[in-house]
Amino acid sequence: MNSDSYEAVIGLEVHAHMLTRSKLFCGCAADFGAAPNHNVCPICMGMPGVLPVLNRHVLELAIRTGLAAHSRIEPHSTFARKSYFYPDLPKGYQISQYDQPLCRGGYVELPPREGSEPRRIRLVRIHLEEDAGKNIHSENASLVDFNRSGVPLMEIVSEPDIRSPEEAVDYLRELRGILVAVGASDGKMEEGSLRCDVNVSVRPRGTSELGVKTEIKNLNSFRFVEKAIVYEVKRQIEELSAGRRIPQETHLWDPEREVTRPMRSKEFANDYRYFPEPDLPPVLVAPDLVESIAAAMPELPAQKREKYGRDFGLSSYEVGVLLGRDDLGDYFAAVLAAGVNAKAAANWVMTEVLRAANESGKPLAQAVPPPQQTGELLRMVEQSRISLNAAKNAFAAMCRSGNTAEATVLELGLAQVSDEAAIAEVCDRVLAAEGAKLAEYRAGRDKLYGFFVGAVMKAMGAKANPKVVNEVLRRKLAG
């Protein structure tokens, strides 16, 4: 069998650091970057006798996320202890949710790729849990920092509905968009705000039974997720094609060598001995709490896409490009806010802005002028103060200099002449100088019209407003 005769079956478990001031169960700061063990207290260090108290805001953020993902918000959910020993896990157990999570079911709808239908990736559950600390390994000792211990995490588990590496990335992107929109996460994958475990199996196309899955742990970028899946699918197909079986294993992604490799298997690794956390009573969510959160939901990515299509007349492709990157989407929104026509702004952002950003290799905000200035420039085009070509030149200059639109246009002398009298004077001069051609034109050689336009524009240093030139020239040529 060749690789086309297999299909990949992929499910994702995403751990999102939640955007809170304090930790899940104690009043320590939840932000990163503090000196080691400076954001810790007896509770998140698992000292004897301490007890967890749930951060109320975390509950609200998780309910918002659940609502955004069409999940069922459970009126009664519980915490459980998940036991294992590791130096960064202070209590010897993680407080998590097990058989009674806060949210069940739901789905994330993926924006359509070109030529494909929108797809729904179903969710199994969304639950709350605490993060562990951090171990720093060195030659013959390890160092432990508990600043991250107890930071709230939301775990979002999908059904194995994903069929390709690209789709996995689309799902992650959409999920991240939702998390950022509801304020549950900053969505910064590179900074570890989102971590992803991927379950991958393959099966002969057309069959419905699930194959044996490999779990790939701790992927912290979209690129790694995509590469790891590509690698793992290929590996599994090769194994199966060679007549070997896939053992159920946990793998780690090696970003250097771009391969996945099995973690050392621990024979008892999976006996976490979950049981109900006696220190936390069940979380009871009243219907009116859910209603009040639902009534104050922010705009979600799908709603925004729909609005962009509807209100700005953008195609789903254009919407996809604009909203495919947070920075680009934000930039577009800011240009719009400067009072520019949406279609023109969209075209400009998708072409000029994106190109400038890509060519510079710098983050968008450093590569291009502030959106207000770009808006200013586009307004000049709308008002015919400059030509579209002149605007492109000005934009390039602004990217380099950081000067305002106004100053750049002035400096480069790009302002367009729309003064009819001035243009008429030049037209008269051109026609007088080109008497022979004028006669030919008037005799019926219409093709010469372009010649006259070119000559007028050239005489005016390309700054004449083409619309006015046309009007005046046609009148004069008609005699």
Binding site: P42, M45, G46, M47, P48, G49, V50, L51, P52, V53, L54, R81, S83, F85, Y86, P87, P90, K91, G92, Y93, S142, V144, F146, N270, D271, R273, Y274, F275, P278, D279, L280, P281
Partner: protein, 495 residues
């Protein structure tokens, strides 16, 4: 006798006062907290070599606290416990004072924080004489499972003090302090109170904050006081009880004025007597002592009704699965990484295995093993879940019983204090010491032990009074009425 001799005589007896008496005299400034504390510390010095009620005596801190209390008393308007010397079971985290839980694994642990109850007592101006002995991690019924040696019974040094809060009970019984704090997971306050002849209260689960109290079995553990009278015990309970933002399981209910409940009036009170608690093989002295106290309450106007708690016989089995399962997780934090004992090791796995092997005693290991097993893959439903279901049945027994009565009266234990070493080789026999106390923890109810008699060898007998949830006032009223009836005067320690 010259006046100074009288004074000496008086001060030497100060440690024998009740809180009510001492507090009144402190407020009148007839005595100082410093004198009172000194008297307790002198007594500690005199009896500790024989008793071993304390793991750590904090004499210097106590005298400093006493001085502060005296200043507050001088200014007037001090709380009831201001200047009163107390013993604290060494399971409460005390800021700056080592807290061992009677385990080698925490031998050098100095908490950087106070338990909520400790903070409340400090704020009330109480004086801490020291950290009292216990069974390691509160796992035991005799205080023999302590890494710091067994505590002996002040009424008979060859006898156990009961456990796990044996040090606290013995310290109160031996007049080393006026009252003490203990914890009760399966009887750990009521049993030593009964064995040592003092009052011990295990309040309703969630009545008192558990924050800073080293956990044994979190769904069962509850904090409570020991004292020489019901009134004194009520005073301490009132000082430590109440909502705590640091304990999510702690009840938000306001704390009643317990002293007001002590009206002495029990007329019309229906006292349920569970037939399952008067079993064959029970000491005759215990049987007659407890029945005598019930008859005494009837003479005061209460009515007794026979009730049934049919699942009593299953309580010990359910308890030892639930408590050990929770304990197996609660004790996972003792891994040698952040505090406490650390064994020499080349890697983290060795670190855990050796630290825990060296740090925990035999009973703790036994319970961790049983609890780990009960939660492990393939056994959870058969053991842990089954026990939780039986817990439901036990709880229902009490709900039904309290439809017929206001409080329940029963023995605390089938016998009086046994001899040191008598049960150490037979864990199950030891576990069965708690046969009458454990179901109260499983149901989360308030229970109290009040002295009600002595056996022919002079060992105290405890009457157990059990209330419905948050029924502390009813059991306090009954216990106080019995105590004040004068039908039985508890003997003082002969040490």
């Amino acid at each position: 006798m010259r006046p100074s001799a009288v004074f000496t005589q008086m001060t030497s007896e100060l440690n024998r006062l009740t809180i009510a008496e001492a507090s009144a005299r402190l407020r009148r400034r007839e005595i100082s907290s410093r004198e009172l504390t000194r008297a307790c510390l002198d007594r500690v010095a005199a009896v500790e070599p024989r008793l071993n009620a304390f793991i750590t005596v904090t004499a210097d801190e106590a005298l400093q606290q006493a001085e502060l209390a005296d200043r507050r008393l001088d200014q007037g308007d001090a709380p009831a416990l201001c200047g009163i010397p107390l013993a604290i079971k060494d399971i409460y985290c005390t800021r700056g004072v080592r807290t061992t839980c009677a385990s080698k694994i925490l031998d050098n642990f100095v908490p950087p924080f106070d338990a909520t109850t400790i903070a409340r007592l400090r704020a009330a101006g109480a004086v801490f004489v020291g950290k009292a002995n216990l069974d390691e991690f509160a796992m035991g019924s005799s205080t023999e499972n302590s890494a710091y040696g067994a505590t002996r019974n002040p009424h008979g040094l060859e006898r156990v003090a009961g456990g796990s809060s044996g040090g606290s009970a013995a310290a109160v019984a031996a007049d080393e302090c006026l009252a003490a704090l203990g914890t009760d997971t399966g009887g750990s306050i009521r049993l030593p109170a009964a064995y040592c002849g003092v009052v011990g209260i295990k309040p309703t689960y969630s009545r008192v904050s558990r924050f800073g109290v080293i956990a044994y079995a979190s769904s069962l553990d509850q904090v409570g006081p020991f004292a020489r009278t019901v009134r004194d015990a009520a005073t301490v309970l009132e000082a430590v009880a109440g909502p705590d933002p640091l304990d999510a399981t702690c009840s938000g209910r306001p704390v009643p004025d317990y002293a007001r409940a002590l009206s002495g009036e029990v007329r019309g009170m229906r006292i349920g007597v569970p037939k399952e608690f008067f079993v064959e093989g029970m000491d005759a002295a215990v049987d007659s002592g407890v029945r005598g106290a019930i008859a005494g309450l009837e003479e005061l106007g209460a009515e007794s009704v026979e009730i049934s708690l049919p699942h009593t016989d299953y309580a010990v089995a359910a308890y030892y699965l639930i408590a050990t399962a929770e304990a197996s997780a609660n004790l996972a934090r003792y891994d040698g990484v952040r505090y406490g004992l650390r064994a020499a090791a080349d890697n983290n796995i060795e670190l855990y295995n050796r630290t825990r092997a060296q740090g925990f005693g035999a009973e703790v290991k036994r319970r961790i093993m049983l609890g780990t097993f009960a939660l492990s893959a393939g056994y959870y439903d058969a053991y842990y879940l089954k026990a939780q279901k039986v817990r439901t049945l036990i709880r229902r027994d009490f709900e039904l019983a309290f439809e017929k009565c206001d409080i329940i009266a029963a023995p605390v234990a089938p016998s009086t204090a046994f001899r040191l070493g008598e049960k150490t080789d037979d864990p199950i026999k030891m576990y069965l010491s708690d046969i009458f106390t454990i179901s109260v923890n499983l149901a989360g109810l308030p229970g109290m032990s009040v002295p009600c008699g002595i056996d022919p060898e002079g060992m105290p007998i405890g009457l157990q009074l059990i209330g419905p949830p948050f029924g502390e006032e009813a059991i306090l009223r009954a216990g106080d009425a019995w105590e004040r009836s004068g039908k039985f005067a508890p003997p003082r320690s002969r040490l």
